[in-house]
Subunit: 205 residues, 2 copies
């Protein structure tokens, strides 16, 4: 019960350790999932003892939480990239729109294998998916606003449902893209965009 009045004054060494622990945890979560990644294994992968690990995190969930926070921040950047302010989504070609939105998010997932493992897997404490909720909501909102720009006639409820469907299709096909060998990735990506285009075409004209 530290009651964590304040988060303890860290030295440079400690800050470095925290980074190492999070990196080790991300790798392990990505490989075996949250539940099967034991705290002792995370400590070992980070090159420290179990006791040392708990100098920086009160429990296992806090590690995942910190990792989630880090991912959320990075993901927000990727989304900012995807839904750039300057672009005119209403006028843009559908193919270009898809490229601009999909490619950065795909790149992020490709660069962070631990991410999908943490957020897509259903084997983690409720608090974690909750940590991802804000970014999911933000993504849905952006998709919806793009939809609103391209299909002004669409009722709000239909727009929301369409956005949810699009995001879910993306999440569903993501494993196919991520699991594809280096050379096949481009083809799978095109396939993903084909699906989205086929669904969006009749909606946005």
């Amino acid at each position: 019960m530290d009651s964590d009045g304040q988060p303890r004054r860290r030295q440079a060494r400690g800050e470095r350790r925290i980074g190492e622990i999070l990196e080790a945890a991300a790798a392990l979560f990505g490989e075996v999932g949250y539940e099967k990644a034991t705290t002792n294994a995370i400590a070992a992968a980070a090159g420290i003892s179990p006791g040392s690990l708990y100098q920086f995190f009160p429990n296992k969930e806090a590690i995942a939480q910190a990792l989630a926070d880090r991912f959320v921040a990075q993901m927000r950047e990727a989304h900012q990239d995807a839904f750039e302010e300057g672009a005119d989504f209403a006028a843009m070609e559908l193919d270009e729109l898809l490229d601009r939105v999909i490619d950065p998010i795909l790149a992020f997932n490709l660069a962070n294998p631990g991410f999908k493992a943490l957020f897509a897997r259903p084997d983690m404490p409720a608090g974690l998916t909750q940590a991802a909720a804000p970014i999911q909501a933000a993504l849905l909102g952006r998709v919806e606003s793009v939809l609103a720009a391209r299909a002004p006639g669409l009722a709000a409820a239909d727009r929301t449902r369409a956005a949810r469907t699009l995001v879910q299709v993306f999440k569903g096909l993501l494993p196919l893209v991520l699991a594809a060998p280096e050379g096949e990735r481009e083809v799978e990506t095109r396939e993903l965009k084909k699906v989205l285009r086929g669904y969006l075409g009749p909606i946005t004209g």
Copy 2:
């Protein structure tokens, strides 16, 4: 080490118990997933003691395996229904084709909440997804053959990829349909079919 020379002669009571255990396990797996469903909890849900449970199954994995076998058999029927021999998939309207294929598989998933939990979740022993592999392969093969009938010009590799994509889209949107409240289910189902139709349209013409 019974070496299970033969599977032991069962009485009627035992056969009944096996059914009860599998039903309890399916419900629990569906609620909390494979890992978090403890064997003692399964026994309790089936109304028996832990010791009795192990009179019928050598270990937890065997329960899931038996459940998987049962699901595979039922699923095969659902697929048989979906890909009925008599139908002419080449001439049929795309909308009718989708209804005929999607509805029975959807109904099966609706009627068996434990199924998706067992096969879609990534938190189970390798042997279990392996148990689902035959049915997955069969499903892919059927989709491919329908594709071959409707798009004869499509190269084999593209056909395989398209089938994989279709199945994955279905699996990706399935949670949306299953999680939808009673009244929304029909709408979500239509949405799912819209996605498939949008993707299939350009391929099958």
